[in-house]
């Protein structure tokens, strides 16, 4: 018994003392990837991981079928064809663990840079570590507006954030009243002027709540009810009652999966009849949510990538095909953004022609990737270097999708905003329960 304990202790010690070995393989560029592979967001973590891995695969070999610069040569051309190696770590949704893993990647694995981390709270601590060590970090999927307001010199974000998405929402609502939505006549303002929002009481949700409040004021909407509810609550009926009592034209939500499911079920049981239901991605964009079937037809959700984008962007279709081969299902918001995040790393390295942090920093600050290169329907990627926001991609854009019954009877998302790229006529008003 004691011997075993002793052995275990020695073994543990050995693990902790593993020297910081960095074998210098010349043709290898290590990127640290930190995602929530286990824990409550494990499902999203799988998508994120696959997206990044697919992008690395495309970058590392010549793929003639794909219309992307990085598919044309194997590895990073300006670095002598060096290949990308991803070192993937699991932060389990824990900011402290995320920071520890970032240190491990930077100091032990000697990564060139970091990609991650989905949860804004983890991205915050990880980027603080990167900032301290002067290691570049590109974030593809955290949407808290504060991340790029900190003036960090080593942090860049490709995805639009919640402020943009919320602005999109209000642009969309205004457009609706002007008859710009595909297939819908101009809606009288009075019908949708009153709003009711319920956001979860977390870092992310309370930020969304603030954005909704600010934009409602700016666009002249009446936010009759702005609820912050306890996430993972056993009962949401009081929240829903208050929202219904406010008689809103549109109900807005920021919820993760289990709350989103419970919310829809509660709305249904209370026979809510708003004209519009809008979700801020997250729980509204998960397979479990789609499985609710007919109950979600007509619900809107913001996203940066919807499978129907494939219809208008051939490149997305090409990448999607590979992704389906790999995972068995379409690209989604999480995987597409993770793909784009790693893709940005490839282009930055190509431009820098070096793995020196300074060179990468300079490349990030001057890079400009045209939209034609991307799977996501953005104008491109270009980071702001001054002003209120530092390191934010200014050419990104969000989508608003609507769950509709498609020809094959399945429920799928169709783009309804931006209006000019709508893939299907919008269903308005929401059927009601």
């Amino acid at each position: 018994m004691r011997k075993i304990a002793l052995k275990a202790a020695i073994g543990l010690l050995a693990v902790m003392l593993v020297p910081a070995m960095a074998w210098a393989a010349p043709k290898e560029i290590k990127i640290g990837v930190i995602y929530p592979l286990t824990g409550p967001a494990a499902a999203a973590g799988r998508e994120l991981r696959a997206g990044a891995e697919l992008a690395a695969e495309i970058a590392n070999q010549v793929m003639p079928g794909i219309n992307m610069d990085m598919a044309k040569n194997a590895g990073i051309k300006s670095l002598g064809g060096a290949k990308l190696t991803l070192i993937i770590k699991d932060h389990q949704g824990n900011p402290q663990l995320g920071a520890d893993l970032a240190k491990k990647l930077i100091l032990d694995d000697k990564v060139v840079g970091i990609l991650g981390c989905y949860y804004s709270s983890v991205t915050k601590t990880v980027s603080a570590v990167c900032e301290r060590y002067g290691v570049p970090m590109i974030n593809g999927s955290s949407t808290s507006p504060t991340l790029t307001k900190r003036g960090f010199k080593w942090f860049w974000r490709t995805t639009p954030h919640d402020k943009w998405f919320t602005k999109d929402l209000f642009e969309f609502l205004v457009g609706l009243t002007k008859g710009r939505a595909k297939g819908v006549k101009a809606v009288p303002m009075a019908e949708i002027n009153t709003l009711a929002a319920a956001c979860e009481k977390t870092e992310w949700g309370s930020n969304v709540a603030i954005e909704i409040k600010n934009f409602a004021k700016e666009y002249g909407f009446n936010l009759a009810s702005n609820i912050l509810y306890a996430a993972k609550s056993p009962d949401l009926s009081s929240e829903v009652q208050s929202m219904i009592a406010a008689k809103p034209g549109a109900m807005l939500f920021a919820s993760y999966t289990s709350d989103a499911l419970l919310m829809i079920k509660t709305l249904k049981s209370m026979k809510a009849k708003p004209k519009i239901i809008w979700g801020q991605d997250a729980g509204f964009d998960k397979p479990e949510f789609v499985a609710l079937g007919d109950d979600i037809v007509g619900i809107l959700t913001r996203s940066v990538f919807l499978p129907s984008v494939v219809k208008m962007k051939p490149l997305s279709g090409q990448v999607n095909e590979l992704y389906v081969k790999m995972m068995g299902h379409d690209l989604g918001g999480a995987s597409a953004r993770s793909f784009t995040g790693l893709q940005t790393w490839v282009y930055v390295l190509e431009k820098a022609g070096s793995t020196e942090p300074k060179a990468i920093q300079a490349a990030c600050n001057t890079i400009s990737i045209p939209g034609a290169q991307l799977v996501v329907p953005w104008v491109g990627i270009k980071f702001s270097t001054k002003g209120e926001e530092i390191g934010q991609n200014v050419l990104g854009g969000g989508l608003i999708g609507q769950y509709q019954k498609q020809k094959d009877g399945k429920i799928g998302l169709e783009v309804v905003y931006p209006f000019d790229i709508a893939t299907a006529p919008m269903v308005y008003p929401f059927q009601g329960y």
Binding site: L12, L17, Q92
Partner: protein, 333 residues
């Protein structure tokens, strides 16, 4: 003067224990100089933090037998005091830490007074309730950033001793190790103090304790306040070390439970218990957890094993790992 003498008096401990402690201390002092991975260093820092949290828990939970499942609220008070003072008034860590401790202690007196009217399970659940109430309030209180949390500004020049901002982790490590040593010596003094003895008598039997002239209610409150100081101190440190704090990661029930678990696993009511518990659980969480969950794809298996170990120890030896060691020693004699 006697208090100081008591604090440094380790005479009542078995030789073998002191020898092991000295060896462990030598290892801890030497650790940063040895070749190690940075993840190992981060793990060690967490080990030190949880040792101190656990020592705080042990003071009231182990010596006093009052099972406290709300320690995280004091982590939060410490962390938020340091963060708010630094962000709003640019106050260095070394000034805000004592303020945080004082605030936490003051708050612990206020809620300790009604809290200790309750006993046993009622007390344990009430501590959860107060902790959750405080967390809920912080989540909507704009002054402290609400659920969005607070982010400490980087001061730039490293190392910054005043604001506790360093690039290399070994600075943090040594500061924590210093805290641990101070904490241990203080704890040793506490064990030998009047309150220390009285508290253990209270744990054995409150009626007997009262018949010996001990004001049980007040003694518990005092010990609770001392325990609070430990936890708040590390909470302040946590804010500086992590650069970002949220109610969810400083005040959650999970953290409270983890603190209690480590101390109980190591051995409640013994001086080394919380340190042993942290030494077992923190590496297990960091290494086994990330290996099984990340690489092997068996998410949950590590924690399931952890739960199993806890069940076995609770059933076999309620005094935890330290209790097992003690029992083995007793048998050999």
């Amino acid at each position: 003067m006697e208090a100081v003498k008591n604090a440094f008096d380790f005479g009542d401990m078995p030789r073998s224990e002191l020898g092991l402690a000295a060896a462990a201390l030598a290892f801890l002092l030497w650790f940063p100089a040895m070749p190690h991975s940075s993840f190992g260093m981060a793990t060690m820092i967490q080990f030190l933090m949880f040792s101190l949290y656990g020592m705080g828990w042990n003071l009231i939970g182990g010596y006093g037998g009052q099972v406290d499942l709300g320690k995280a609220q004091y982590v939060g008070i410490g962390a938020y005091t340091t963060a708010v003072m630094m962000i709003r008034w640019d106050v260095p860590f070394w000034f805000s830490m004592p303020v945080g401790m004082a605030l936490a202690v003051g708050y612990s007196f206020i809620i300790g007074y009604p809290l200790f009217r309750l006993k046993g399970h009622y007390f344990a659940i009430a501590t959860i309730a107060t902790s959750l109430v405080l967390k809920d309030l912080f989540e909507v209180w704009d002054f402290v950033g609400g659920a969005r949390g607070l982010e400490l500004p980087l001061k730039g020049d490293f190392p910054n001793w005043l604001y506790l901002q360093f690039r290399e982790d070994y600075y943090y490590y040594y500061i924590l190790l210093g805290m641990l040593l101070v904490g241990l010596i203080y704890m040793n003094g506490f064990r030998h103090s009047r309150l220390g003895y009285q508290l253990r008598a209270i744990k054995d039997n409150e009626h007997v304790a009262r018949s010996l002239g001990i004001d049980v209610h007040w003694s518990k409150i005092k010990a609770y306040a001392m325990a609070t100081a430990y936890v708040a101190m590390v909470g302040s440190f946590h804010a500086c070390y992590n650069f970002n704090i949220e109610p969810e990661d400083t005040m959650s029930l999970d953290l409270s439970v983890l603190i209690a678990m480590m101390a109980m696993l190591g051995g409640a009511g013994s001086m080394w218990g919380p340190i042993i518990g942290a030494a077992i659980l923190v590496p297990m969480k960091n290494y086994l957890g990330s290996w099984l969950g990340g690489q092997a794809g068996f998410a949950g298996m590590d924690l399931a094993m952890y739960g199993l170990i806890i069940m076995i120890i609770a059933a076999a030896q309620p005094r935890g790992v330290y209790g097992i060691v003690e029992a083995m020693r007793a048998r050999r004699r």
